[in-house]
Amino acid sequence: MPIHEKSLIRPENLKTHEELVIDGVDVSGHWSTFIESRVVSDYNEAMEDEIAALPGGENIHRCWQCGSCTNSCTVNAINPDFNPRYWIYLIRMGMEDELLRDKDIIWQCVSCNKCTYACPRDVFPEGVMKATAHWLERKGHTPKSPSMHFDEVFTEQVIKTGKIEESRTIRRFFSRTKQGLMQPWMIEMVKRLLRNLPVGLLTRMGLATFVAPKTRGWSSAAAAMQEYIDEQHEKQEQALSS
């Protein structure tokens, strides 16, 4: 088609009807293709506030759309659809449907932070990408990412015991991401550990698998951390539900 606007029409917005009669006029078939409107008909003011309430998103309102983030973006160089400048705009104007079209690539930010150093307004686009990915998860638009699962089991363990016990972290991570524990590389690793580690160390490791070691006097530190986390979480929940 010789008009450049054709590129603006998304395939899903082209509507053809097998059989449709409007006011006695037959508009069936390919020759009566309709185009769904692209008009922005309202701003959703809640969306920016929601994402700004998540860690990293705080400065999104500073953006003046210069495009430095997109120009400096590592991922954009590979995938032109990865456009932080554009997403920041959609979020600020509350164009949720439009943002959701890209929900499966937003999380691909590699956190190289080139945008962070390029941004003249200190919007912290890398943080905004992270906040947006979390927002998509918490709103149920995307499943929890493996890295989110890992962060959760890791944090839970630290708060509970003050220590990291690797085998427990791995077991829980595998179970939450629905991966089998008996993976060939895992079996091979355990075999070699049994063969090569001194007996004393093996005994302590084995014991730790069943009895979780705990930092002495940890409970007050744990309570303080938990209180802070709950506080933040409640604040975020409030922002997300308003």
Partner: protein, 349 residues
């Protein structure tokens, strides 16, 4: 005995010029066509001024008091100049009240006229009561009434400010940038957000020209502290669905048409040349520049010269100007008058 200097216009520039001359003991006649001094900031009821944040009635009111209390200055309100003849050092001015005076020089501080939004009918002013101008919002704030929709007095929940209304628009013969509207609008947006924190303010712009130090104090601050939203779009039309105003245009950054409901639309009106400029040019025998402002000449050797020796100009009479710069130009023109009268300089200096 020396003759007085004639100053035309009692706004910021005229008040500054009269005061300057007074401080060196030179007498002046300050002619103002309205019945009180102060110019646009007082007559149009501006609220807080850029960049000091002082209320106009205090800041400019103080200048008025100073002039009215100065025995060197003779104030003629409700008066215009009808005739002006003579040579530098030896002019005769006739006034609308029938009097006349011998003066040494004249300083034109005749200012500007606010753009009348009725000349952009597609943006709904005059058709929908909730379409207002920046001047009206200034008045809502300065009167203490607060920002309310004129139709029913409700607090607006969403306000759109349209920039460049009567500026940068060849369609209506106004090609100039009015210079102050971007800054004034971001200042008003912050005042609206301050008074009505639940109200969202959107500014539709072609370019943002909050020049110099106004960048951080107004443009950045309005976004960073007050969460005002800026959308790059020239609005096509303002209509109504019976309840809300509907703003139509193209959001150029996402290449999409927009049709957005608003409670109130504010026109950031520009500065037209004073409607009296053709008569002033005639009476005082000075040239106008291509847009109809009084042409300023010799901008490097001295400030405030016009095409006619002995007649000077200052402030927004020369083109869109800020209050600060109008005041500075008023002082500068007074200085030019003194140096011209006492030590005539070669115009090419």
């Amino acid at each position: 005995m020396t003759k007085p200097i004639l100053i035309v216009g009692g706004g910021p520039a005229g008040l500054a010029a009269a005061h300057s001359l007074g401080t060196v003991g030179r007498s002046s006649i300050l002619v103002e066509k309205e019945d009180k001094l102060g110019g646009a900031p007082i007559l149009s009821g501006y609220a807080k001024l850029v960049p000091s944040g002082e209320w106009a009635k205090d800041a400019i009111g103080g200048m008025v008091d100073r002039v009215e209390g100065d025995s060197n200055i003779k104030v003629l309100t409700g008066t215009t100049v009808t005739k002006f003849d003579g040579t530098p050092g030896n002019f005769t001015a006739e006034f609308s009240n029938g009097d006349n005076a011998q003066v040494e020089a004249a300083v034109l501080c005749s200012g500007f006229t606010h753009f009348d939004s009725i000349n952009k009918p597609e943006w709904g002013f005059g058709t929908f009561p909730d379409v207002v101008t920046t001047t009206q919002v200034e008045q809502m704030i300065s009167s203490g009434q607060g920002v309310r929709c004129p139709s029913d007095g409700r607090k607006p929940q969403r306000v759109a400010i349209l920039l460049c209304v009567g500026s940068r628009d060849r369609q209506i013969g106004r090609e100039w940038c009015s210079k102050i509207c971007c800054t004034v609008s971001s200042n008003l947006a912050m005042e609206i957000r301050e008074e009505l924190p639940e109200c969202h303010v959107y500014i539709y712009y072609m370019d943002i020209r909050t020049f110099g130090l106004y960048e951080t104090k107004y443009y950045w601050r309005s976004q960073e502290e007050f969460k005002v939203k800026y959308i790059k779009a020239r609005i096509a039309e303002v209509t109504s669905d019976g309840e809300k105003l509907i703003v139509k245009g193209e959001d150029t950054l996402v290449k999409r048409p927009i049709t957005i409901p608003f409670d109130m639309v504010v026109h950031a009106i520009g500065m037209d040349p004073n409607v009296d400029n053709p008569q002033l040019a005639d009476i005082f025998g000075v040239d106008l520049e291509e847009h109809g402002h009084i042409a300023a000449e010799n901008r490097y050797g001295a400030m405030g010269h016009t095409s006619r020796p002995g007649v000077f100009v200052a402030g927004a009479a020369t083109g869109p100007e800020t209050i600060d710069d109008s005041i500075a130009q008023g002082h500068a023109a007074a200085m030019s008058v003194l140096s011209e009268l006492h030590q005539p300089v070669d115009k090419s200096a």
